[in-house]
Symmetry: C2
Subunit: 234 residues, 2 copies
DNA sequence: GTTCGCAGGGAACTCAGTGCCATGCGTCGC
DNA sequence: GCGACGCATGGCACTGAGTTCCCTGCGAAC
């Protein structure tokens, strides 16, 4: 894998952020960065495909981590809980370098180009989650639709918590914020999570009489059958 | 407002798409476009801030329409239903020019730069929806969180239906696809004020053997049992 | 007719990103 | 020890997007 870290890459990131912070992103040219880092211009683009990439130096690795996390099974767990855990990987990356994350947040908030770039990164996370859910929901009615919607909701909740933390300059409790946000999503999409500590589930047997009934009605019926009420809102 | 349509703008769009389709987006330079349209290069950037903008010539107007739609009251309706209706404005714009929309879809699917640009456009729609919901949910616990999540879910559902329609080359029923997708979201987030359209649902009978099973597993079983989308409301 | 305003044209510039090749440097084979 | 090879880096020139500044033509107003 990535055995030792290339020093040049880090030097470029450091130089870039120094200049971005003191004179702004758009006012800084790639030539400025490489001059400060003392390397050739061509080398910059060897490490970063574009000027924007230097602002998000670790997202590529994080995305790979998430893909790997979702790739290795976990199919015995609730799919929604699984993607929530996957989202927490991103939070962890942000939380590893609070000051860096806050600085970057301020940058992306100001510069439209960086905001757009960030969107494309977030989109890739969302697609990874959605693809996983699509696999888990394969064959189910509206499987891909539910997968897309849940993935989007998870990402939105995660970002809501994350940004709340970033706005506090990293003072608040990032995990608590995101956990709270993700809990809401999980509650919403896991149809009335009752005693959830899932163990042996082989012996689930279901009988539904009326095939034409709407799904939400079926769920309601199940909830009534199981005995715990659908704890709506809070 | 925009009294008569500027002919030059349309000429540029037409010329651009001719070239994009026959030789690809990245293989077409702005100089190629203005040469074909018979206008000066400078004029292109007067009408479109960037090369990408020529691919989405009407989104700016649509976004203004949505903002206006959400701006004028409607506060007596269900907020979720309201943003769903707002999302349908976008669908309508796509449906107005099916062939154009399908061509553009194929382009954006291939070209990463256009995909990214589209994301930034979609993001602005999502923000408009979220801002509206934040206003509606102001003062409520987790108001902004719920606003962000619901906006994301609505956009995801809309896009799911929209893309399904685009993939069918505009043959399927766009409204039906999107209505179906948005209905799922609305059902999920509207605090279940009872069975909504409530028709023949009395005869749903369910039997679940194992009470300790996780809810998601039960639902999965039900869906497998039903084997088909149970709630296709035509 | 002169003047004002404005839509468009055009040259020249900045800067991101790419392709090509030279250079330096360490390692391996002999 | 010596050439061969691979690899990281630097240098340079080129394309193409986007911008700045200024020119031209044309219609309306006075």
């Amino acid at each position: 894998m990535t055995v030792p870290k290339p020093p040049m890459r880090d030097a470029l990131v450091a130089a870039a952020f120094r200049l971005f912070l003191e004179r702004g992103y758009e006012q800084t040219t790639v030539d400025d960065i490489v001059a400060l880092a003392g390397v050739g211009r061509r080398s910059f683009f060897r490490y970063f495909p574009s000027k924007e990439d230097v602002v998000f130096p670790d997202h590529e690795r994080c995305l790979a981590d998430m893909t790997e996390f979702l790739g290795r099974g976990g199919d015995e767990h609730d799919p929604v809980a699984r993607v929530c855990d996957a989202a927490r990987l991103v939070l962890r990356m942000y939380a590893e370098n609070p000051t860096f994350s806050v600085q970057r947040y301020r940058l992306t908030k100001k510069v439209p180009g960086l905001r757009t770039y960030e969107l494309s990164v977030v989109w890739r996370y969302e697609r990874a989650l959605a693809e996983y859910l699509r696999r888990r929901f394969a064959g189910q009615p509206d499987g891909t639709l539910r997968a897309d919607v849940i993935a989007a909701a998870v990402v939105a909740a995660h970002n809501n918590g994350l940004r709340s933390w970033l706005r506090s300059d990293g003072e608040s409790d990032a995990s608590a914020e995101v956990d709270h946000a993700l809990a809401l999503v999980q509650r919403t999409f896991t149809p009335s999570a009752g005693p959830d500590p899932a163990e042996d589930v082989e012996d689930v047997v279901v009988l539904v009489s009326r095939r034409g009934a709407p799904m939400w009605r079926v769920v309601q019926e199940i909830e009534a059958t199981l005995g715990h009420p659908p704890d709506r809102q809070n």
